[in-house]
């Protein structure tokens, strides 16, 4: 059994802590005797879905995001789209999340097309608009996800996708409708970094199971000692609540 991860554009899209997600997946696989390999895919590298059972794409600054968008659509796009329809597990964070949508409209009005595998679109309301920055807690399944968001764009989810979770504290997709992230089939998009997976071990395991199950239908992950992970999760949760309370008082 092996998790074969395609890491899209690690050299262009590696803002603040994306590496933590890869480190977490590797640790949690290897601790259970599951093999783990990472394929770094840069611009012009072909996407051969038969080589991977999971895809990760992180965040980037605007400058890098433009370089990536072109390659994503024209070089890898068709292969990724059909892999998604076949059930490929994808985690897309922040800038990568925006790129999975139909488009990103910049503060200046220019529209940057995205891959369109998620029925979402993102618009930056203008240079004077407030950036959404801070700790986030969302409800996810029976549990919570914690992380940090830092984005100027507001994302809206269409009928072809569902929000990943409901905002408990923080801004989420657009600061209005209470949704955070988006899901379509096994594609998970979110603004949460922090890094996301290390302190949300349940979510990390959920993704690992999804990625492995097409080839290993009976996959069961044995539990790990997640004391440190769980305490980091709770620490982040209580800080996020404390800060949002302070915000209300102000």
């Amino acid at each position: 059994m092996k998790l074969r991860l395609a890491h899209l554009y690690p050299r262009l899209m590696n803002i603040y802590g994306d590496r933590g997600n890869i480190i977490s997946l590797r640790r949690r696989c290897e601790a259970r005797g599951i093999g783990f390999e990472v394929h770094d895919l840069e611009p012009e590298d072909a996407f051969d879905a038969s080589n991977y059972n999971m895809v990760f794409i992180g965040g980037a600054q605007d400058r890098e995001q433009q370089l990536v968008a072109d390659d994503l659509i024209h070089v890898k796009g068709d292969a990724i789209k059909s892999a998604v329809e076949d059930g490929m597990t994808v985690l897309a964070v922040c800038g990568g999340y925006q790129l999975m949508g139909h488009y990103y409209r910049e503060a200046g009005g220019r529209e940057l097309p995205g891959l369109g595998v998620l029925d979402i679109w993102t618009a930056h309301p203008g240079p004077e608009a407030r950036r959404f920055i801070g700790n986030v807690v969302i409800e996810w399944q029976e549990s919570t996800l914690v992380g940090f968001e830092n984005h100027g764009g507001r994302t809206y989810v269409g009928k072809g996708a569902q929000p990943l979770g409901k905002v408990v504290s923080g801004f989420g997709n657009n600061g209005k409708d209470g949704g955070e992230g988006a899901i379509y089939r096994n594609v998970f998009g979110t603004y949460l970094h922090g890094s996301l997976l290390p302190k949300n071990p349940e979510f990390a395991d959920h993704l690992i199971v999804l990625a492995l199950s097409p080839e290993n239908p009976d996959v069961r992950l044995e539990p790990l000692d997640d004391m440190v992970e769980t305490l980091a999760h709770h620490e982040a949760k209580s800080l996020a609540r404390k800060k949002s309370l302070l915000g209300i008082i102000r």
């Binding site: 603040y16 933590g20 400058r63 940090f148 970094h193 290390p198 982040a236 800080l239």
Partner: protein, 464 residues
């Protein structure tokens, strides 16, 4: 009259807040001074007979500004500076008010020079108000993305600011940092550059936490023959002619020891040997930056070297104190490039270490702590005697260290005082404890450690 009132009010506020022990007494007096007299920075800085130097960049501002002040004092001038961390306009206003007498004028103004560290994003405004003689750019790394937005934003701010300046300001640039060196094309005034030539200190490849991978002229990927720290090194564009130019002030030989370093510094007026009681590649950049700035100010290099050699570390930058037979060294680290440099420097010393990391997420630290996942803590494997963590985000730090393969359960105590007490007790007598905090955690740790310094083994009594 307005000036006098502003100065008096600011000085009084500073005194009160220092007596009450709230902060270093700089933000409030600065705000008051600017509130009463909005022109205070412009007017008072223009009275400084020797003009002003501004020091900006992600890492090294405080140490470099202190080095420059020392050199300036060495030639018999009076250096006026802002306190570390108070590097916005109000911090500069406060320092000018503090330097002034009660009547609102600076004594000995003719021989006085302002040497201010300035926040990266505030630089354009401060430069506009002050009209500096010299502006030094140290480096540009990802830092506090929650506050500055993106690294690119700061790079563009600088470009626009430098383009708008007249040719009266000399600009001092780090030739080894492509983001900083590219300001060369924009500047209309005099220019001086510094960098490291000694290629024996290469770390091999560009670190994970690097930012400037792309040519600012054509967008192609940069190639490196030598990397010293983050994305600082000998770079050239893979497509166009953009490349590192030979610096005016360079280090042709650097020998790093545990607590000090020896440098051979080449300047336009000759070669000099200098020994500093600081260590690490990042500190050799600070020394080179200070030397280049001194040259820009017309100070002779031999006087500069004399100033550098007597410098002692302070305020959490390799600051050492003795506590109950243990040496404690506090080393501030607030972003991935900076912390990687600190770890590299510790690992170079080669001995098994006792280390405590303190991670806070206050506004001054940067609220987003995901940067710790960009730090190569893995290099500490097999090098530690004891390891503990504290701070508001201690469990995040513990998790990072666990995943770096350092300890499945490092000692965690979110109370800094208790954590430091345990860490000291766990350090052998005669040994050294490295305390590595973020900014606000550093203030807290220094406060606690300062009270213990020179006392006995307080943890064996009723607790410190």
């Amino acid at each position: 009259m307005r000036r006098e009132l502003a100065t008096i009010a600011a000085k009084a506020a500073g005194q009160v807040s220092r007596n009450l022990g709230i902060g270093g007494g700089t933000a409030l007096p600065g705000l008051i001074a600017e509130g009463i007299d909005p022109g205070i920075v412009t007017d008072m800085s223009s009275c400084l007979g020797q003009g002003s130097v501004l020091v900006t960049g992600t890492n090294g501002k405080t140490t470099t500004a202190r080095l420059i002040r020392r050199v300036v004092n060495k030639v018999g001038l009076v250096a006026i500076g802002n306190r570390e961390g108070s590097n916005m306009m109000r911090g500069i206003a406060a320092s000018l008010a503090e330097a002034a007498g009660w009547q609102g004028t600076i004594p000995d103004a003719e021989r006085s020079m302002g040497v201010f560290e300035v926040d990266e994003a505030t630089l354009p405004k401060v430069a506009q108000v002050i009209g500096p003689r010299v502006v030094l750019f140290t480096n540009l790394f990802r830092d506090q993305l929650d506050r500055y937005g993106e690294v690119e934003t700061v790079a563009r701010l600088w470009q626009d600011a430098v383009a708008a300046w007249d040719n009266r300001s000399t600009i001092v640039l780090n030739a080894d940092d492509p983001s900083v060196a590219s300001l060369q094309g924009t500047a209309s005034g005099k220019l001086l550059t510094f960098g490291i030539d000694d290629a024996s200190l290469t770390v091999g490849e560009v670190e994970h936490a690097s930012d400037a991978r792309w040519c600012r002229t054509c967008g192609a990927e940069l190639a490196y023959s030598t990397v010293f720290y983050g994305h600082l090194g000998h770079w050239s564009c893979s497509k166009c002619q953009n490349r590192r130019r030979a610096p005016d002030v360079s280090c042709s030989r650097l020998v790093l020891d545990r607590d000090d370093m020896q440098m051979t510094v080449t300047t336009p007026s000759g070669q000099f040997e200098v020994s500093l009681s600081l260590t690490g590649v990042y500190n050799s950049y600070n020394a080179l930056a200070a030397t280049a700035t001194a040259i820009a100010l017309g100070i002779a290099p031999d006087v500069t070297m004399e100033g550098l050699s007597g410098f002692t570390a302070a305020f959490g930058r390799q600051e050492r104190m003795l506590i109950a037979d243990r040496e404690v060294e506090v080393i501030l680290a607030k972003n991935p490039a900076g912390l990687n440099q600190v770890l590299n420097t510790l690992v170079r010393a080669g001995e098994p270490m006792d280390v405590i990391f303190l991670l806070n997420d206050d506004i001054a630290d940067g609220r987003d702590i995901s940067w710790i996942w960009d730090v190569d803590f893995e290099m500490l494997q097999g090098r530690l005697r004891s390891l503990s963590v504290s701070g508001h985000r201690s469990w995040d730090m513990a998790l990072r260290l666990k995943y770096a393969g350092l300890s499945d359960s490092p000692g965690v105590n979110s109370d800094t005082k208790t954590a430091l007490r345990h860490a000291l007790a766990g350090t052998a007598p005669g040994g050294r404890l490295y305390v590595i905090p973020t900014y606000t955690a550093m203030l807290e740790a220094r406060n606690v450690l300062g009270k213990w310094a020179g006392k006995g083994a307080f943890w064996e009594g009723d607790g410190g």
